[in-house]
Subunit: 282 residues, 2 copies
């Protein structure tokens, strides 16, 4: 596995790979890898000759400086996990390499980012779209792999690709969970023992809400029940619980036949912000 | 010269060219070609093995539906000019091919587009950045060629390329003028005889303003003199005259040593909107 730290180095690597007729897969991560990320690498390896994993922690998608500072960074451990998973090149640039000058342009995704993560983390999806565009231009992938745990991010990136006619395919892979249901996340490392013990409640709340959706319980009532459950656990502070159309991400007042529903929630637990989601087929 | 009308066709063409190790040049135009465009094609031909000219009239950069409707479209004449100039592929897609679905994302370039064309044509540079991104992703050029007549457009496109790390170089070529000084423009075809006879006044106004800048006449006075001259010609309606920093495009209240100045103007003449500019070295 090659380790690349410059844009020019990555561009030269992928230009050569494409000239050789290779298929290039990109797995954009922020490092601190877990089984969810490795599943993305394995999926890329099954499709592509070259698998590039980026572990750049992107400052422009953090709306909270403290969250950026505390975000786990373990590049040596990441490298040790990536090579056996089938990664052929690790991209680990500095902030100065990715942002040699301040960014002027700003992306707005309209209604798609007026809800959930976009509403609660101002500027987050501008940062995501900027760094993803940069990574696409540097890695020139045929396919890029993202986790469905970031459901809204996948929707925004698909919109970006469609609207700017990027010549690549977005592959979204299912959320990987711990045995007790907690969605894998790099932020889970920051949970202390009591918080870690309480954390599976998020998944339980989503499961209960999904069962209610299947029974036709109105969205407002599903949302209220979920938030009430989280409120009863003193370690949790609920940020949002959304019952939304799975494609448009807009909140639902009732269900439409044949339209999938996504349940998305964000909560703070012992100083750590966690998100999770679950899709209910329409 | 190949004629391509689909995104997939263009992508296949340029993927093959790059695999063969060829240099690819892109000349994005909206057709109705004149000597200014052909200069861009010739510059591309001098640098690149493959020269792709796009003649797509992009609806999303017109803030005025009538201007879009009346924009000249002469694809057969364009093709006849492009082949002898060294163009190897002409890209002439339909609107549905370029925009298979409505665009959701919106670009904002901040202060760079709060002045001049951006201020007077709301949404114009969002449309430009969108279509240029699409063309870059379809044509995968090593270099893309733009005319300095659209000075602010060149600045916006360079910002786009830098901010999203497009792996290509922007080449800006000087404005080509008629013998009487009128800047070449596809819109000149729409001028009737009296308007065409009056049109060189724009260039004369810029020349006089440039002479004043060189003499240190304050920006406000340069602007007022230019607008007064245009107002005296009854066929003209001045839209703006800007004395600005050539890099940031922000209006000047005084001159800074070593900083180039750009003089930009827009005016309506017999129902046709014309722009022109001139740079004065700092």
């Amino acid at each position: 596995m090659q380790i690349l730290t410059t844009a020019a180095g990555l561009q030269a690597y992928t230009e050569q790979a494409r000239q050789a007729g290779h298929r290039v897969g990109l797995v954009p991560t922020m490092g601190a890898l877990h089984a969810g990320h490795l599943q993305l690498v394995q999926a890329a390896r099954a499709d592509c000759n070259e698998v590039i994993a980026s572990i750049f922690v992107n400052p422009t998608q953090f709306n909270n400086a403290e969250d950026f500072r505390l975000y786990p960074r373990v590049p040596e451990a990441d490298a040790a996990l990536l090579a056996p998973a089938g990664c052929t090149a690790l991209f680990a640039p500095s902030v100065a390499e990715m942002y040699p000058q301040p960014t002027v342009l700003h992306f707005d995704f309209g209604a798609l980012e007026r809800v959930m993560e976009g509403a609660h983390r101002p500027g987050h999806f501008n940062g995501v779209a900027t760094v993803v565009s940069k990574l696409f231009h540097m890695a020139r992938p045929h396919r890029a792999y993202f986790g469905q745990k970031d459901w809204q991010q996948v929707a925004v990136v698909k919109q970006l690709v469609a609207d700017l006619s990027f010549d690549l395919e977005i592959v979204a892979c299912p959320t990987i969970r711990e045995a007790d249901g907690l969605a894998m996340s790099s932020r889970n490392r920051r949970l202390d023992a009591p918080a870690r013990a309480a954390a599976p409640l998020l998944y339980q709340v989503l499961q209960a809400a999904a069962a209610q959706v299947r029974q036709g319980v109105p969205p407002a009532q599903v949302q209220a029940t979920a938030e009430a459950t989280l409120t009863r656990e003193p370690l949790f502070t609920s940020e949002y619980m959304a019952v939304a159309d799975a494609q448009t991400l807009q909140p639902l007042t009732n269900y439409a036949p044949g339209r999938a529903v996504v349940l998305c929630l964000a909560a703070h637990l012992g100083g750590v912000r966690l998100i999770d989601n679950m899709v209910v087929a329409g």
